[in-house]
């Protein structure tokens, strides 16, 4: 179900913990699985659990608890925008409006062509660069303006 590259990455994560504590790698394993498959289906979560030798419910609990896991399909580019106080004070509402109009989607929706989805995020710990968003859980974009958002979206297409 997962490629050898992903399995190797999971093995690297497992090497950080004592052999008898394979569950410790579940968060990384789910992250790696999500990066390969785009989102986490029940089957993928069960596969990860089986690979680690832990109950499927233990992996599902983790997948549902942490909010960077996607349990529904998302766009090729998932944009998560922070609207918490430091971002709000510096105009995140304007960025949200701009993104929603431009992409013609609301929060937790996917564009018709499947390219983008939009999510409201909680504090990302980078408030000095507010307002900000990140793409596919990996790339942080700070000091956003509507023009800068257009530029970033242009590069992603």
């Amino acid at each position: 179900m997962l490629s050898q590259v992903s399995l190797d990455k999971i093995e690297y994560e497992l090497s950080k913990y004592p052999k008898e504590n394979r569950q410790a790698a579940v968060m990384s394993a789910l992250r790696i699985a999500q990066a390969e498959q785009g989102w986490l289906s029940k089957e993928t979560i069960a596969y990860v659990a089986e690979y680690l030798g832990i109950p499927a419910i233990a992996a599902l609990e983790v997948a549902t608890f942490y909010n960077m896991y996607d349990l529904q399909p998302v766009g090729k580019y998932k944009i998560t925008i922070c609207t918490n106080i430091s971002c709000m004070l510096r105009g995140s509402d304007e960025i949200v409006d701009h993104l929603q109009k431009k992409l013609k989607v609301g929060f937790n929706e996917v564009t018709e062509d499947g390219q983008f989805s939009l999510k409201e995020g909680e504090c990302m710990g980078c408030c000095g660069g507010a307002p900000l968003m990140h793409v596919n859980n990996t790339h942080m974009h700070e000091f956003l303006t509507p023009a800068k958002v257009d530029e970033i979206l242009g590069e992603l297409k």
Partner: protein, 440 residues
């Protein structure tokens, strides 16, 4: 560290660089690389204590003298915490670094990780030697993947250079350090929730006692400190605990990284001596933006009480200074609000955050945070009632002190302090169905 190309924006001229001292070296590309750090005396302290077999008790005494207090927000004396770890234990002891900063306005540990990762690694290795820990984990906030990768690269550099791993400097001291990546849960900043998360579980805080020093990661003795605390250790051992204490004021030793966000001209991190007057720090951050007037400041992250301008303008930035002025230092996360800020809307957003991030384990927090949010939402929607203000106070008082962890207090503090200091704004909103400040 090929990844590291982030320019440093802050003006360094008035800062006192301890945990970010590599910034004094080179600002263009890789200030945090191993060569730069070694040039500043990096890893010399680790080598000295390990090869000279300096006694653990002597190191703890030095840390106690420094008056370093936990930089994650609680302000607990680091030296005292270290003395709680059992000296003799038959099995692996663990060392954990809490880099899971996710409280709004907090972004200081990120700069240590991306600009000076080796000082953090050295600080952790020194702590490991002192406490007899064989394995360490640095738990890094989920949203900063690029910085996590920088840290992984720094670990690689340190292993190759012989600063981490087996039999360091030809002695029998061994220490393995790994990076762990969070995935979006504020609660994991609470140390026992973080430990649960390292073990691959939901981040739900544990009852204390037992404390991590006796029952931590995988049930083994574990010491947990914040990133900034560990990163202060090499400097303390190089210059002496007294020199660190002397940088600050009594009861607040050393420097502090302040994360300044919100309505200032130059948001960012500023590392300054403890006890700096608030007005000087505000000036370093360029003052209030657009030439407007200061209205309020949350000095240490939303779990600390909001202060009206009149209360903070005369305050100094240290544990006692802010406590005397009616709030607390927290993690040094200063959120600045100008006179165009609607405090009702601001509180509504903060209350949503605590509602979203409550782990759901304790009823008062799980139910109370949602209740507070719904009441604030109806006020902002123009459907508030005057008795809602007493209701908000009542709910908050019933969350506070009735939960396993401090998230309960953290959620209650903004509600109580916003209403206490800005009550007329809330009353106006309820009476008129619109904001007194924005008119909308």
């Amino acid at each position: 560290m090929s990844l590291h190309k982030t320019p440093v924006v802050a003006d360094l001229s008035k800062q006192t660089l301890v945990t970010l001292r590599t910034l004094s070296e080179s600002q263009d590309a890789n200030p945090g690389n191993l060569k730069n750090y070694e040039k500043l005396g990096g890893y010399a302290q680790l080598k000295r204590i390990v090869t000279e077999k300096v006694k653990a008790t002597d190191i703890i005494t030095e840390v106690k003298t420094s008056n370093l207090r936990g930089r994650g927000g609680a302000g607990f004396p680091t030296g005292l915490k270290w003395s709680f770890m059992p000296r003799y234990f038959d099995g692996t002891k663990y060392l954990v670094c809490n880099s899971d900063e996710g409280e709004p306005g907090t972004f200081k540990d990120r700069d240590i990780i991306r600009y000076n990762p080796h000082q953090l690694i050295e600080g952790m290795a020194i702590a490991a030697y002192t406490l007899g820990a064989r394995v360490g984990y640095n738990y890094i906030h989920g949203e900063i993947w690029q910085d996590y990768e920088i840290f992984e690269e720094a670990l690689d550099e340190a292993r190759k250079a012989g600063y981490l791993g087996e039999n360091l400097f030809g002695t029998n001291f061994c220490f393995d350090l790994y990076a762990v990546h969070g995935y979006g849960a504020y609660i994991c900043g609470e140390e026992t929730a973080l430990i649960e998360s390292i073990e691959g579980k939901k981040g739900q805080p544990r009852f204390k006692p037992p404390f991590p020093a006796s029952y931590g990661v995988f049930g083994k003795p574990t010491n947990v400190n914040n990133t900034e605390s560990y990163a202060s250790i090499p400097w303390i051992l190089q210059h002496g605990g007294q020199a660190f204490q002397d940088l600050g004021v009594p009861n607040s030793g050393g420097t502090k990284l302040f994360s300044v966000s919100g309505h200032v001209e130059k948001p960012g991190n500023y590392e300054v001596k403890m006890g700096m007057p608030f007005v000087d720090l505000l000036e370093m951050a360029g003052g209030i933006w657009h030439g407007r007037t200061l209205k309020a400041v949350i000095p240490g992250g939303p779990s600390t009480a909001v202060m009206p301008a009149s209360a903070i303008l005369g305050a100094t930035m240290d544990y006692e200074g802010l406590s005397k002025a009616g709030s607390s230092l927290g993690a040094g996360s200063m959120i600045v609000m100008d006179d165009t800020t609607c405090m009702v809307t601001a509180l509504k957003r903060l209350s949503y955050f605590f509602y979203e991030e409550s782990c759901g384990q304790c009823t008062p927090c799980r139910e109370g945070t949602g209740w507070v949010y719904r009441v604030l939402k109806r006020i902002v929607d123009g459907e508030g009632k005057m008795e809602d203000l007493d209701l908000l106070t009542d709910i908050s008082n019933n969350i506070s002190g009735r939960t396993i962890c401090a998230l309960g207090e953290a959620a209650a503090t903004p509600v109580l302090s916003f209403i206490k200091h800005f009550r007329p704004e809330f009353e106006y909103y309820i009476q008129h169905g619109k904001s007194m400040v924005t008119g909308k």
